[in-house]
């Protein structure tokens, strides 16, 4: 492939992506209904007990009714969502900072996420994740 072709390809790619972004802007953040609907679609046999949604509407934790060893995770990806059911062994580290929880996973396709929270909600999300991780968070970090 000669350099002109390569440059032309990159220009075409950039142009198509920009036009796509302009014509189809992502507006919807996560809300309870969207989180639970998508979680149920991926994990129809699990019973969610609610949703803890980050203040930026990008990431949500889904506690389960009768399973305290795992937690659901719904992350906004463009205009779609990615749903996971994570156990302690899937989590590499949970780092609590002032702006929320920074979570790292043993997952090449989803290396990390951030749950933007404050106050009591941050506290309960942190407790939830700490309770399912096998090792205490500070060891892994």
């Amino acid at each position: 492939m000669d350099p002109i072709q390569l440059i032309g390809s990159f220009v075409a790619i950039a142009l198509l992506a920009l036009v796509a972004r302009w014509m189809f802007p992502n507006k919807a953040d996560l809300d309870d209904a969207r989180v639970l609907r998508n979680f149920a679609r991926h994990f129809p046999d699990e019973m969610a007990s609610g949703a803890i949604i980050g203040e930026d509407g990008k990431t949500a934790l889904v506690p389960l009714v009768s399973d305290s060893t795992r937690v659901g995770l719904v992350i906004a990806m463009g205009d779609r969502t990615v749903c996971r059911l994570v156990a302690g062994a899937d989590i590499a580290a949970v780092i609590r900072k002032d702006d929320g929880l920074h979570i790292r996973f043993h997952d090449f396709t989803q290396p990390n996420t951030m749950l933007r929270l404050s106050g009591d909600t941050l506290e309960s999300a942190n407790n939830l994740l700490t309770s399912i991780t096998i090792r205490p968070a500070k060891d892994a970090a």
């Binding site: 492939m1 390809s9 990159f10 075409a12 790619i13 950039a14 198509l16 992506a17 920009l18 036009v19 796509a20 972004r21 302009w22 014509m23 189809f24 992502n26 679609r41 129809p44 046999d45 992350i75 990806m77 463009g78 205009d79 779609r80 990615v82 749903c83 996971r84 997952d107 090449f108 396709t109 989803q110 290396p111 996420t113």
Partner: protein
């Protein structure tokens, strides 16, 4: 003497770009097609990378193919028009099996998963192609064509046309084609089912050009208007990074093989269907479908 034929896919690229713009515009106006900026970017970068990776290894593929053709062919069918037609049909049959194994053997899935990794279904999804198809046993499925006497250059040429055909079927903008066409050819409707993650639609419609192979080999599932397609992977990727998209399943295989206890497990991590584990801790598509059927039955019984 090596037959010198044009490269159909490279010639078609400008048309692909224009048709993506056209579909985008149509979707913007009508709402019957949807794009997303980052998703589109990743799909197109995967397409470009696939072209580059293919070009880098094309000569290797040709040398291997011509070696088989020179040493093991039973006939030399020549280059008459009917040979091109025969090659097109048989190459499509080979494609069906490559594609079917591409979903049922994790080694081949590691390359093919890329094409299914978008949660969107539009013309840019067609260009989301693998960078690593050369590192799978896919090549062996084409050997019968060379052995029966079709020159490799002809096979490469018709495979290019096959790939071009598959471009236009990656759209939600077209509902159904005329009945006779839907009966014989692969169409947007059939291929939507192939890209869908709904349990009902898993492992269906592997066809390239002719849907008849699926009907023949029992993998045909028609699109059901009561069950709208949801696209992507049963475990979607949480990244748009093209490098992670390109290599994620290879990394997964490597980790699993590295951590395996027995040689049997190592082999099965490579050869068994995606999702297979010795302890059943992940789900294969068969397990997902079985759970779905059980849920359906339970719902029916509850309703009675």
């Amino acid at each position: 003497m090596l037959l010198d034929l044009p490269k159909p896919t490279e010639l078609a690229v400008p048309a692909f770009v224009l048709l993506c713009f056209a579909e985008m515009f149509y979707g913007w106006k009508s709402g019957r097609a949807r794009y997303e900026g980052k998703d589109t970017f990743t799909s197109l970068v995967m397409g470009l990378g696939s072209t580059i990776s293919g070009a880098l290894t094309a000569s290797l593929f040709l040398v291997a193919s011509y070696w088989v053709w020179d040493n093991f062919r039973l006939f030399n069918l020549g280059a008459a028009p009917w040979v091109f037609v025969l090659a097109f049909v048989l190459d499509d049959l080979a494609y069906y099996w490559i594609h079917r194994f591409g979903h049922r053997m994790r080694w081949m899935w590691a390359a093919h998963v890329i094409h299914h990794s978008s949660q969107h279904y539009n013309l840019s999804t067609a260009l989301r192609q693998t960078w690593t198809g050369q590192f799978t046993p896919g090549f062996f499925f084409k050997l019968p064509l060379f052995i029966m006497g079709i020159e490799p250059a002809i096979v490469v040429f018709v495979a290019g046309i096959n790939l071009i055909y598959q471009f236009w079927i990656h759209t939600e903008a077209i509902g159904r084609m005329p009945r006779w066409f839907e009966a014989v050819m692969n169409t947007p409707s059939h291929h939507r089912v192939h890209h869908a993650t709904n349990p009902k639609y898993l492992d269906a419609n592997y066809a390239g050009v002719f849907i008849i192979w699926d009907k023949l080999f029992g993998t045909y599932v028609p699109e059901d208007d009561a069950e709208p397609c949801r696209y992507g992977l049963v475990r979607d990727l949480g990244t748009f990074n093209p490098l992670r998209v390109a290599f994620h399943e290879w990394v997964g295989i490597f980790r699993d093989v590295w951590g395996a206890r027995t040689w049997r497990d190592r082999a099965l991590f490579l050869l068994a269907p995606p999702g297979w584990t010795p302890d059943g801790s992940r789900k294969t598509s068969d397990m997902i479908k079985a759970e779905w059927r059980a849920r359906q039955q339970a719902e029916r019984q509850a309703a009675e």
